[in-house]
């Protein structure tokens, strides 16, 4: 077991433990904050897989953006003072059946697949350069379409989240 393996198990441990806390915690704030460590551990695993751009994007979008949105959502929705924030365990039987099917499928694919392992390829220095070049040359149209998708998401999110002005004035 070399150093990279030890670092991998370190990040895997962080991911699994914090994910377990996220699921089993009775307090939703603890869940939201332990999700931060889950995202962080996944980013570490991405780095170990030589996917440095995805790791940076993971930190930037999930930790910086989506988690903040989740924490805001938790802080905005519940009635705060003197109300216990609790999560319950529901639908045990259907839930375990579905997770067993998904987990079994993933394990089956992992065992059955004839993994194509390339030996002795020099590690890629930085994937960001490659991704940038591909964006600007071969995948130019998808890149521009991504901005349109973002535009649609922005307008849709703003439209849905907007406070109703007429309701606001009457209140």
């Amino acid at each position: 077991m070399n150093l990279v393996d030890i670092i991998f198990y370190f990040f895997a441990l962080i991911t699994l433990v914090s994910a377990a806390i996220t699921v089993y915690s009775r307090n939703i704030i603890y869940s939201a904050f332990s999700l931060l460590f889950t995202f962080f551990g996944v980013a570490g695993i991405y780095v170990l897989l030589n996917a440095d751009f995805i790791a940076v994007a993971q930190i930037l979008i999930y930790v910086g953006g989506i988690l903040m949105l989740l924490v805001f959502g938790v802080m905005l929705t519940h009635k705060v003072i003197n109300v216990e924030i609790k999560t319950g365990i529901l639908n045990v039987v259907p839930g375990s059946i579905i997770t067993a099917i998904i987990g079994g499928t993933l394990c089956g694919v992992f065992v059955v697949t004839d993994w194509f392992i390339v030996e002795g390829v020099p590690p890629i220095k930085s994937t960001t350069t490659e991704i940038g070049t591909m964006f600007m040359t071969k995948y130019l149209l998808p890149f521009e379409i991504a901005s349109v998708v973002l535009l649609v998401a922005l307008i849709g999110a703003a439209y849905i989240a907007r406070r109703d002005k007429s309701k606001n004035q009457s209140a």
Binding site: D52, T133, E144, A158
Partner: protein, 142 residues
Amino acid sequence: MLTDFGKVFIFFLIGGLFVAAGLIAAWVIRPKRWYPSKLSTYECGEIPVGDAIVKFNIRFYVIALIFLIFDVEVVFLFPWAVVFKNLGMFAFIEMLVFLSILFVGYAYVWVKGDLEWDKPAPQLPSINSKQLKISTPQTTPD
């Protein structure tokens, strides 16, 4: 052999170690004489009132949603910024197109007033002249 992310990992480890060492050293050295006002939450010298978990205003959420879109945009800018010097004018114009499409969305939320920090209308105290009773407005905490 140490990759760039190896250095980041060492920073991460030393950072964690630094925090842990500071806390443990403080725990070992400090005198342990507790009393209620020392154990209370520090709130700039004031006596703490209420719960730490307060309800935030909904307008934070709208701003956060808009922020998230531009956060994703920054991730798309990142690989472009690495290579655009090699690719020249073409890549620059491509990114201008990309940004101008998203600028439409920015203009949309600006015009529609989603970036406005809309305050609740002020409720002025009204005086009932017959009873001479001053009713103060009910303020709700944001």
